[in-house]
């Protein structure tokens, strides 16, 4: 293998490929295109994967919602069509009985799901918004970014049923002057004044709320609207390693037993499982990554075969040259290693250029999608994938080079030199 590190070998190879520029370029284009497609595709797929991941980062990925509907089966002496109403103590019961539950946040809301939004006033400005009664734990499930100087509802707010509220960016724009600091100011929600304690930032991607939602303490809400122990729906987050689908089943069956609903009544409680959705979407993204990997590798393969093909033709074209070299004292091994080294060198060079161009394409895509409201972030290809592709190319380049190399030495020098 010493010849690999011999300057002379490489000078000879550079001479050979440098002076046959057309051939060299045509040979390289195949592999270059292959690795370019490979990098472009798998990077693009990864970008989508990252995009989804970022979108789901604002909410707990193992979360779900449960709400009451009406029964569809008579059971335990109750007739069908009974309206289900979730109660606060259901929350404690669920938390006590299902160990997989990490957080559970009961919510109650007005101005949503068919009820009228609440008329909200500040000075000369007004708007109608959805009002949520919340517990602090809600932010554990749906991350709320609060602008500087503000905060979300805390336990003390709940205990004292303070008339405080967290408003959204839209409320801020519609109710306040530009550059006005809303924290500490008062707004009137319905007929009661609330002090603004924070402004939540609109979350990109999946969000349970929109930017015009107002949050007030749950305890304040129940006093204000006389809702007692009723809750609108529950947000439940399971531990990361828990099976959310199973948790969803458990939650529903416990609720059914509490509310005396037929165990096989699927309509009594509604639910939406974000974890399941997320698994599906991330599965889709993973599938896309896999497909792009396969397509990319297949393209590289086609490129390498192209190199082999062109080298084979060029060996035929170079029969005479190789014959001369052997008449001048080139051993079969020297001829063989020259052809293989040319093959490998071209493959790797084309591969590296392809990687560079592919990386350029990805950074271009990244710049173009940066400000887009589209689940697409950071299209990258992990270094091991790149090195792996290069390794595959070296191996394939060697193997494919063997064919023309064998052809080159199987022709007797005397035949190679004979006039056509």
């Amino acid at each position: 293998m010493g010849f690999l590190f011999d300057k002379n070998t490489w000078q000879e190879i550079f001479g050979s490929i440098g002076k046959n520029k057309t051939r060299t370029i045509i040979t390289m284009v195949g592999v270059l295109w292959g690795i370019f497609v490979y990098i472009g595709l798998s990077g693009a797929a990864k970008g989508m994967d990252n995009g989804f991941e970022k979108v789901f980062k604002t909410v707990s990925m193992n979360s779900m919602f449960v709400w009451g509907q009406s029964t569809s089966k008579p059971y335990g002496g109750f007739k069908t069509g009974r309206q289900m109403q979730l109660k606060l103590d259901n929350v404690t019961e669920l938390q006590n009985r299902i160990p997989e539950i990490q957080y559970i946040a009961p919510r109650i809301t007005l101005g949503n799901f068919g009820s009228d939004p609440i008329y909200t006033v500040r000075g000369q400005k007004s708007g109608t918004y959805t009002i949520n009664g919340d517990y602090p734990v809600y932010t554990k499930i749906a991350t709320k970014k609060i602008f500087d100087g503000g905060r979300f509802i805390n336990d003390e707010d709940i205990r004292q049923a303070r008339k405080v509220c967290v408003i959204g960016e839209r409320n801020l724009q519609e109710l306040f002057e530009k550059d006005e600091n809303p924290v500490g100011q008062y707004i009137r929600i319905g007929s009661v004044y609330f002090q603004v304690i924070g402004v939540h930032k609109m979350a990109q991607g999946v969000s349970f709320d929109n930017d015009g939602d107002i949050f007030i303490p749950f305890s304040t809400y129940r006093k204000l609207y006389n809702s007692g122990d009723n809750i609108g729906y529950m947000c439940i987050a399971a531990y990361d390693d828990a099976d959310v689908v199973q948790v969803e089943k458990d939650v529903k069956s416990i609720l059914k037993s509490i509310h005396k609903v037929a165990p096989d009544d699927d309509r009594a409680f509604g639910s939406f499982n974000l974890g399941e959705m997320f698994t599906k979407i991330s599965g889709f993204a993973k599938g896309l990554t896999f497909v792009s990997l396969i397509v990319g590798i297949a393209t590289i393969l086609a490129g390498v075969i192209g190199i082999g093909n062109i080298l084979l033709i060029s060996v035929k074209e170079r029969t005479k040259e190789l014959g001369v070299r052997r008449a001048l004292g080139a051993t079969p091994n020297e001829v063989r290693s020259q052809i293989i080294l040319e093959s490998v060198f071209l493959t790797v060079l084309a591969g590296i250029i392809g990687v560079i161009l592919g990386a350029g394409l990805l950074s271009l895509i990244n710049n173009m999608t940066k400000d887009l409201d589209f689940p697409y972030t950071n299209p990258t290809v992990p270094i091991p994938y790149v090195l792996g592709a290069l390794a595959i190319m070296v191996v394939l380049g060697t193997l494919i080079g063997l064919i023309p190399a064998h052809r080159a030495v199987s022709i007797k020098p005397i035949d190679a030199l004979r006039e056509e």
Partner: protein, 221 residues
């Protein structure tokens, strides 16, 4: 490849001394190229012995043959067989590459031989930029570069007009004058008579082996 084998050479026996300039003559099909190919280790005889500079040449595999060719032999072809993408200098330096001589030294030595054949100014030209005679002179320089024991020339003037042929023969004679052994295959009488000895081949046997008075090519140039 064919199923019919053809015996081209049927018993050849001759010895060339060091410093000889031998012409091998014969009509086409007489076996002169086959003989040269065997001498050049490009082909192998079915039977018989071949001793070069005291070394018995037999049971050669390709690698060994390549080594011997590189060390002992210099080839001059009818169609020059220069590598068309290499400059004259690089062509001359090529046998030295296979002797693992470093690039710098290769070029110095190649330049020396190019100078000898009078093509120093053309060193960096490609073969396509040279005339037929110049190409053959580059090929001769290349054959000389490895300082071989024997130069084998296969119809060296076959592709050249007579004036250029004489120039090339003049060069070959001068190289011979320096003490190099040269075998020239030709079917041209005047070229053969510029050598010191003519071996006439006919149908695979030596018909006549004669020493001749050398005609100097320089008088025609």
């Amino acid at each position: 490849m064919g199923s019919n084998s053809l015996h081209v050479l049927k018993g050849i026996n001759f010895t060339a001394e060091a410093g000889e300039l031998v012409a091998i003559m014969g009509s086409s099909g007489s076996g002169k190229s086959t003989l040269l190919n065997i001498l050049g280790m490009l082909d192998e005889a079915d039977s018989g012995d071949y001793t070069l500079d005291g070394v018995p040449i037999k049971n050669l595999n390709e690698t060994k043959a390549a080594k011997y060719r590189n060390k002992f032999l210099g080839f001059i072809f009818q169609s020059f067989n220069l590598i068309n993408y290499k400059s004259a200098l690089e062509n001359v330096a090529l046998p030295l590459y296979y002797q693992k001589i470093p690039r710098k030294e290769r070029q110095v030595r190649a330049m020396k031989y190019l100078e000898q054949v009078g093509l120093k100014e053309w060193a960096h030209h490609l073969p396509s930029e040279l005339s037929g005679g110049q190409k053959q002179r580059v090929a001769i320089a290349r054959a000389m570069a490895a300082e071989p024991k024997v130069l084998l020339a296969d119809e060296p003037t076959g592709a050249l007009d007579s004036t250029t042929s004489y120039e090339v023969m003049d060069l070959i004679q001068k190289i011979n004058d320096q003490g190099n052994t040269i075998l020239v295959v030709t079917h041209e009488d005047d070229i053969a008579h510029m050598c010191k000895r003519i071996i006439h081949l006919k149908d695979g046997v030596i018909e006549k082996d004669e020493k001749v008075t050398q005609v100097r090519a320089s008088q025609y140039v």
